[in-house]
Symmetry: D2
Subunit: 379 residues, 4 copies
Amino acid sequence: MAKNPLNVGMVGYGFMGRTHSNAFSQVGHFFDIPYKPVLKAVCARDAGKVKAFAEQWGYESIETDWRKLVERKDIDIIDIASPNDTHLEIAVAAAKAGKMVMCEKPLGRSAKESIQMVEAVEKAKVPNMVWYNYRRVPAVMLAKQLIDEGKLGKIFHYRAKFLQDWTISKDLPQGGQGLWRLDVGVAGSGVTGDLLAHCIDTAMWLNGGIAKVSGMTETFIKERHHNITGKTEPVGIDDASLFLARFANGSLASFEATRYARGHKALYTFEINGENASIAWDLHDLHRLQYFDHRDEGKTRGWRNLHITDSDHPYMGKWWVPGLQIGYEHTFIHQVADFLEATGAGKAAAPTFREAMATDLVTDAVLKSARSGQWELAN
Amino acid sequence: MAKNPLNVGMVGYGFMGRTHSNAFSQVGHFFDIPYKPVLKAVCARDAGKVKAFAEQWGYESIETDWRKLVERKDIDIIDIASPNDTHLEIAVAAAKAGKMVMCEKPLGRSAKESIQMVEAVEKAKVPNMVWYNYRRVPAVMLAKQLIDEGKLGKIFHYRAKFLQDWTISKDLPQGGQGLWRLDVGVAGSGVTGDLLAHCIDTAMWLNGGIAKVSGMTETFIKERHHNITGKTEPVGIDDASLFLARFANGSLASFEATRYARGHKALYTFEINGENASIAWDLHDLHRLQYFDHRDEGKTRGWRNLHITDSDHPYMGKWWVPGLQIGYEHTFIHQVADFLEATGAGKAAAPTFREAMATDLVTDAVLKSARSGQWELAN
Amino acid sequence: MAKNPLNVGMVGYGFMGRTHSNAFSQVGHFFDIPYKPVLKAVCARDAGKVKAFAEQWGYESIETDWRKLVERKDIDIIDIASPNDTHLEIAVAAAKAGKMVMCEKPLGRSAKESIQMVEAVEKAKVPNMVWYNYRRVPAVMLAKQLIDEGKLGKIFHYRAKFLQDWTISKDLPQGGQGLWRLDVGVAGSGVTGDLLAHCIDTAMWLNGGIAKVSGMTETFIKERHHNITGKTEPVGIDDASLFLARFANGSLASFEATRYARGHKALYTFEINGENASIAWDLHDLHRLQYFDHRDEGKTRGWRNLHITDSDHPYMGKWWVPGLQIGYEHTFIHQVADFLEATGAGKAAAPTFREAMATDLVTDAVLKSARSGQWELAN
Amino acid sequence: MAKNPLNVGMVGYGFMGRTHSNAFSQVGHFFDIPYKPVLKAVCARDAGKVKAFAEQWGYESIETDWRKLVERKDIDIIDIASPNDTHLEIAVAAAKAGKMVMCEKPLGRSAKESIQMVEAVEKAKVPNMVWYNYRRVPAVMLAKQLIDEGKLGKIFHYRAKFLQDWTISKDLPQGGQGLWRLDVGVAGSGVTGDLLAHCIDTAMWLNGGIAKVSGMTETFIKERHHNITGKTEPVGIDDASLFLARFANGSLASFEATRYARGHKALYTFEINGENASIAWDLHDLHRLQYFDHRDEGKTRGWRNLHITDSDHPYMGKWWVPGLQIGYEHTFIHQVADFLEATGAGKAAAPTFREAMATDLVTDAVLKSARSGQWELAN
């Protein structure tokens, strides 16, 4: 039985262009999905580079203007993997053109942008999703299952961190390819939108809405050379961002993101403490989940180190055999699989643009609180 | 060469009475100190129990009224191991009587009390010290050495937590022996004074003063049976206490203490990130220190798991042979050793009452901020 | 610049058929290789299943008789991913037909078979390689580099284990699809050829030849239902296999493999102790390497936990960004990349059939020693 | 109620003299035992040093000839903490004098010696015990309980190692104080009697008798300066010793001890795999036990990291509060507590001299097998 082709129009060929392209390439090898993704076209401004990228990944064609890509009749889905300042315009145009839309996170540079994107996809009634890929780590999905089964009981505490150390040198320039995350005009914010947004998306998915926040940010290096202007310019992003939070369910939380935590490359961690059980996870060993169940017999009670490679773990029945781990890129493959399965069944696939907008409301509140020195409402 | 006896008058025979008595008993077996501690007298209200305690530990005599103990001519040092609400009165009286004074932490139920104690010992010019024992974990002392040597460089981040789970059950009463930590009248506060105070003491010792804080507290169980009144009464302590902080040196910090973190018994952890190196430690494996040095060659750079059992580690040359770990009680032995050595040399031994008062100023500010919803100055 | 196509003829569609197909599919997306692999044909006896496999992976055609595959002019390389009892015949025929040959491990069911395969490929002068994929774990390749740089100094000890627990139930049948590893006629031996062979291949690559061995084996379940004959039959494989060894360089070693180590799915571990440094690795966290360097300053000397995700680690510059781990299947991609690069440059790619034969000589010696109760020479 | 004094006569003031003296000093502070140990006399040849030791530990008197100590009427128990070559003579004399006898391990330099000691204590019917202290690590005692409760089911595998690295330098002399473990005349053997003996004692206690062994030993440094003779002399000890074993219950085992494992100070580890559950432990984190139970629900099944600090763990109710770890020296305190409790109740306390002799039979067999190249019976 031949599957319907799904023609992909990819915007961007950077780090995320690669992870998304890989996801569409690989999903059919491992998942039984109702579509056959076809890498129809990839779009970016630099014709030479985009052509090389298309060859490497097997895209059938290229575009150098995203408007043309959006207008093409042979494109079913627009996948936005370009920098944050391009999301709004492309997503709105794609929705108007009736395309399915997938978008890298954060959805907007601020909630003001995300709201417009939500309105566009909801008005056009097109399937839409934001690439908060860490939900699809098998260990994280298992955490979600355990919480939904009620294994933890009433939740008291949530804490999450995302620690990196790649911008400590003052000689690192801001702006330009690979460094747009340091350019506040392009990125919208620093670690708040880049890293905290991941922590917040997971947190609200696992533990419900965040009611209010008290934040603090810092920019350790105040000026950096700008690659595009060629001048030393003030740095507009936040290098570190911390906040305390109260969830709607009454639990207390602590969040932190920084690019100044020497020794950590991409250490996203979370821990959630419930009345009966606790869960902890970190991205540096993403194939493991720590689980403590107070109902275990006292003398043999302890944190269980779950090696998430068995077929009864989420997604893992599709991969290899017990004991053999998967890695980072697989989270994107899982996300495409879930998106296509849901879309084929006429359902929404989480996180939708609307869910991602809720995250932007929290990051906005964190930044506002850091400026005001007050607790701020987060929704 | 016979050493001068140092006659100890201990107040209290609970958990801390045991750790202190053990410290005075053991210190001479392992450390070359200028005094010979003698367990002269132990004091508590229950004559039967204090007598049994004296027999078990070899105290020569007992008292049931601390005032008599303080008045005894044959007592050189008063060690206060009784609940928080007794510290002020005993310490002031002991200082007035010219005794050396050691006191369990927190020094006061609030800084208002600690200030009076500081004034008393400083006016009397008696040696004084507060039992913030975790400074004397060999791994923690090594952290101090590495920071003082400048190995970390400029500090960006400090984070500490103290997680327990022993009060989750709503059936646990408040007040009475062993449970006075839940009685706000006796304890002064909940986890803020009990657990956060440890985190703050270590933090300011390692990273300097704390300038301001933004706190949040919660009392999850609002009413508990009170063992002494025999009634169900409102709970006055904080069950959880979190705060963000800015250190005087500009670094950002996050602190948390709770007794509602299922799966953790006494998980005191801290991590400090500097420009060149980072350090992490936790109390559940107190004989280890994690150290990351960015100056290591790139491909073999990683967190070093130091097993703090070698003779070139602080205090460890006094104990066994490399590879063999010591435990919790040893921190108290080290503290007595350092106190006696400093006192013998006519020097102050840290943390003095004055240093411990600074911690109380921070905990006061945390509680004030939790009430005000504002950032509060911490000194 | 168009690359030469390399037409792949795959034999087998089981677990290894999937890992190899994935490797050929993915290698061009991440590595700059001098060929463009084309999934030309896949071969297996069950026409329906092989057709479904071909569709899933994009093979252009199918065969149900490997002889036809070997004869096809449009096939450049024969990749043998079928059970052990098929290796000899297919490999020899493929070599005679002038094809490049890749073969799953172990090369032969015994060295008697492997010798014939070595002779065939060397006589035909065709590029050849055996899929000892664990050499291509980035952490393991880094271990090799550190040893070759002399960082360890004189080697004293090598120890390796491969622990599984999937055959403990006596109800598990032997033989048939997915279970041929329990059928001695098909597999040749039990864990000795299946698991120990991996340990031995890595060990001799890292530490040189093994001189002699003293082995012990056990078959815990003596009879099992046979899926093909439909009868309960004696079990001919070894369930557990341990041996002591002396390397040619004088170092002492201990090896163990078992499928009866409850709690371990695929725990391949090795550790190597040298005069100056030691290395340890395990497959359950394959993205990490433990490294201890005695030349580090005493008080900060400890095992370094290397997170092998940086661009200065082997292969990792081809994947994502620091901190983001890869998984099991990538080892096969690396192996294809290395094979194609070497072949394009007219060089042999390790491990060749000849190297893999040396491993079979050791496994033969282990089994012989287990029977004789004597030390046996291993080469 | 006054307890009977138990007058201790200690032989030796080295590393073990300290651990034993500490045990007798501390046991009454924490355990409710039917005797009150009194440090009556300590004996060693160097009068100055033994006097200093006596002062430091509070011994009432000293002796410089162990024969006089044994003859003293006021001594109830002789504790032999002196080098291995003194055990036989002292133990036999003490038994003849009707004293209780405790002896450091290994009991004899070979089973030939231990047999004579067993005969002496059994003939004299005096309480006797050998200091295989690692049985009294709370985590190890818990392992024993879990095995005895049948939690593991049929045992398939046992593996143990004891890894050190302190003799790698060729400049280290043999013989003399603190170095007698390198002098084969004094020690009897190298790591076999010093380290493997610990592994074997624990193993037979947990898993029953060892039937046969196949061993291998090495002396990496062939000649060393001898501190006593002042000459360079051949080294008679084994630096490394490995063996495979078959237990009487059919399980397979691997043992290793070495002083050439760079990076390990005293890494004694064991793991035991049963049909239903597995256990692992190591001395570098002696307060933890790893436990895997296959009967846990599949998706939350994993190795449990038990923090052995709760009051329902062996011995731990006597110490501090949950979460606070104890260390190495406590194993000796537990051993004295168990010895005195058993003795007070008229029972034998394990391991007796007879049990310790069984260990010497195994170490003898390992050394014999290493020479013969054959499997040797171990009892």
